[in-house]
């Protein structure tokens, strides 16, 4: 578990005056599903392209499997599978021919390749579509084909760059389950996305990026512990006296209360019975209330607290 598969040190990449990666460092260990989370333009894809030596960079070092990665590191490249955001397949070839072609770039032995292609087809569940051309496939099936083309040669390191963009929920779940299966089979996975739910669901370690910098790194629990908020209680209240609100704000572990005339939002830091205490205050003052929610912090809260902006706001 401890061998670093990928090690990036002080990576700097500039596009003219724009700094796409600003002294970015990262270490990914064997057997991890490592999530790179960040809004569009945060530098995730640039990091991947530099890692694969498809982009030149201004400064820094990249090592994969303990060896320096260069454009001519063909032996290292053989051990990497790449699934990019855009579906990269030949429209002229059918499903089987496409997987066979991309597998053939790595595996020369025909019999072994046939076996690998069959396994990849089975893995993504495209057995019934082998003779279909990509244009005849739905968006979800096309994504699965894209994945099959990237993993057919059984790589040790799999890089997935936003593989679930514009995919229906059913196909998305299947893709995420597939990634976990690949990881269980021994592959180290780098997963980039701006969907925090996906990253939370499958990644064992996460780095959050913004403006080309790594702003936080750790397991999801470690990341959540980095922030003050541990629980947000939301209560529908039609009328609320300022005195009652002040009493709630004075409760232990409560560090912020917001009332917008309809909803009372209480942010807590630590503590185990925050909800019971808040409801107790409301009942003591005979304040009638409607629905009550208690939410644990998300990665979006982590991003919000660190950068002052929500991930989703950034997307817009």
């Amino acid at each position: 578990m401890n061998n670093p598969v990928v090690k990036i040190e002080n990576l700097v990449k500039r596009y003219g005056d724009l700094v796409a990666l600003d002294h970015f460092s990262l270490e990914i260990r064997e057997g991890e599903i490592f999530g790179l989370l960040g809004p569009n333009g945060s530098g995730k894809t640039t990091t991947i392209n530099c890692l694969l030596s498809l982009l030149s960079y201004d400064k820094g070092d990249i090592a994969v499997f303990g060896q320096k990665m260069t454009p001519s590191s063909y032996d290292i490249k053989k051990e990497i599978g790449v699934i990019m955001q855009n579906v990269a397949v030949f429209d002229e070839l059918n499903v089987y021919e496409n997987i066979d072609y991309f597998c053939g770039l790595y595996i020369r032995d025909k019999a072994q390749r046939r076996q690998y292609v069959d396994e990849a087809v089975q893995f993504v569940g495209l057995e019934d579509f082998l003779k279909f051309r990509p244009k005849k496939l739905s968006g979800g099936l096309l994504r699965r084909l894209n994945i099959a083309c990237g993993i057919a040669h059984k790589p040790k390191l799999i890089i997935l760059d936003e593989p679930t963009v514009a995919v229906d929920p059913q196909s998305r779940n299947r893709i995420l389950e597939g990634i976990q299966t690949l990881n269980r089979n021994g592959a180290t996975v780098i997963y980039t996305s701006h969907y925090m739910e996906e990253v939370e669901q499958i990644c064992t370690r996460i780095a959050i990026m913004d403006k080309g910098r790594k702003i936080a790194e750790g397991t999801k629990d470690e990341l959540k512990r980095m922030i003050r908020n541990t629980e947000t209680v939301t209560i529908e209240v039609l009328e609320l006296d300022e005195a009652v609100r002040a009493e709630i704000a004075a409760l232990p572990h409560v560090y912020e209360t917001v009332f917008d005339g309809k909803t009372l939002t209480v942010c807590c830091s630590g503590g185990k019975h925050n909800l019971i205490r808040i409801l107790g205050v409301l009942q003591a003052h005979a304040v009638s209330f409607g629905r009550v929610y208690s939410e644990l912090p998300t990665l979006n809260d982590v991003f919000l607290e660190i950068t002052g902006t929500a991930l989703r706001d950034k997307e817009e």
């Binding site: 694969l52 498809l54 982009l55 030149s56 001519s72 063909y74 032996d75 490249k77 053989k78 990497i80 790449v82 990019m84 855009n86 579906v87 990269a88 397949v89 030949f90 429209d91 002229e92 070839l93 021919e97 072609y101 991309f102 053939g104 770039l105 790595y106 020369r108 083309c149 990237g150």
Partner: protein
């Protein structure tokens, strides 16, 4: 090998486009070969003529017989409106009425009022028939002047008109000293249009598919060296280009009346170099990765434009000096210069032919170099 095989597999899916051009061109070529001989033979024009003989004498009947032998007689009622309608709708080309007293006037040496004619003004058929009648009357008068009776004079004039002269159309210009048949040379003349059309229409979509940004990206991530990938694509392109060239050079062998020999090999070399130029153009255009709907437009622009200016479709003799001066900067002009020697339109000059082929080769080399530069600059900007 995987890239090469896949390239050919994708190429196979686009072969129907090539087959349309190949079949159409071969059929046209073979049809031209069969038509070639008849085109050089002379055949007298036959007009559709309506004749009304109001004189009904041996002299007038002799003329009617002669006309019926040399032209197609159309029966018509002796009605002026009907005749004019027939002329207007081109059911007849000429309406001839032999007037009463024709034989007497002819014997008396009169030439006016012999015929009453209805015809279309300023038409070729009218001029042709008028000339025929004048010639006939002059011939009869010549026999009359020689002392023959009017009926005999008419009969002898008819006999002299019936004598056919075998005519063969002979091309003017220098003697054809090339070792290639005219049919094969004509077939070779249109190859520039065909090579550019087929290669661009078939190869541009294939090259677009294999050089698509995302596909290249995925391939670059694999262990395949870029040089090997490019070599496989060039190999596949080369196989197709060679295949197309061989098909057409082989197809022209029957038109040539046998295997190429002597100076005919110059034409074969000329076509090979032009094929290389066409391949270079195709690679250069595909380097810019034009959208598929634009490929056909660009192809037509290059192939038709160049072929029209350089004398593929219109003989270079018919083109203006300014057009030819501009055409010198295009390889098709030099191709046609060599081919004109094969057709016999220009005297064969080996040194000039080789110089023209060298110019074509230079065009091909420059375009190939440009292709490399374009591709390099595009890949550099993608990885910057």
């Amino acid at each position: 090998m995987q890239v090469f095989k896949t390239y050919l597999k994708i190429l196979k899916k686009h072969l129907h486009v090539a087959s349309i051009y190949v079949i159409a061109f071969l059929l046209t070529g073979f049809a031209m070969t069969f038509m070639d001989d008849s085109a050089s033979l002379f055949e007298q024009t036959r007009l559709k003529i309506c004749v009304l003989d109001l004189d009904n004498t041996p002299e007038s009947r002799a003329l009617c017989d002669l006309i019926s032998k040399q032209h197609d007689i159309r029966e018509m009622p002796a009605d002026e409106d009907a005749m004019l309608d027939a002329l207007y709708y081109e059911r007849i080309n000429y309406a001839l009425t032999i007037g009463k007293g024709y034989a007497e006037k002819l014997a008396a040496g009169e030439t006016d009022g012999l015929f009453e004619n209805r015809f279309l003004h300023d038409s070729y058929s009218t001029a042709y028939m008028e000339q025929f009648l004048n010639e006939y009357v002059c011939t009869v008068r010549a026999y009359l002047a020689g002392g023959a009776a009017s009926a005999d004079a008419a009969a002898q004039a008819c006999a002299s008109f019936e004598t056919e002269t075998a005519v063969r159309v002979v091309k003017s210009g220098p003697e054809n000293t090339s070792d290639m048949s005219l049919a094969a040379a004509l077939f070779f003349r249109y190859l520039p249009y065909l090579f550019i059309s087929v290669l661009m229409n078939v190869l541009c979509p294939v090259l677009h598919a294999v050089n698509k940004k995302d596909i290249r990206f995925r391939t670059d991530c694999s262990g395949v060296r870029p040089l090997r990938y490019t070599a496989a694509i060039f190999g596949g392109t080369g196989v197709f280009v060679a295949g197309i060239w061989v098909i057409f050079v082989a197809a022209a062998i029957p038109m040539n009346g046998g295997l190429y020999h002597g100076t005919a090999w110059i034409a074969v070399l000329n076509s090979l170099v032009f094929t290389l130029f066409s391949a270079s153009v195709t690679l250069l255009v595909s380097g810019f990765d034009p959208p598929s709907n634009l490929v056909n437009m660009i192809t037509q622009m290059i192939s038709l434009g160049m072929c029209f200016i350089c004398g593929v479709f219109v003989d270079q003799n018919m083109l203006g000096e300014n057009v030819l001066a501009a055409a010198r900067f295009l390889p098709a002009y030099w191709y046609i210069r060599v081919n004109r020697m094969m057709e016999g339109s220009d005297a064969f000059d080996g040194a000039l032919a080789l110089r023209a082929i060298a110019i074509e080769a230079a065009f091909a080399a420059v375009l190939a170099l440009l292709t490399v530069l374009v591709r390099k600059s595009r890949s550099r900007s993608a990885s910057a």
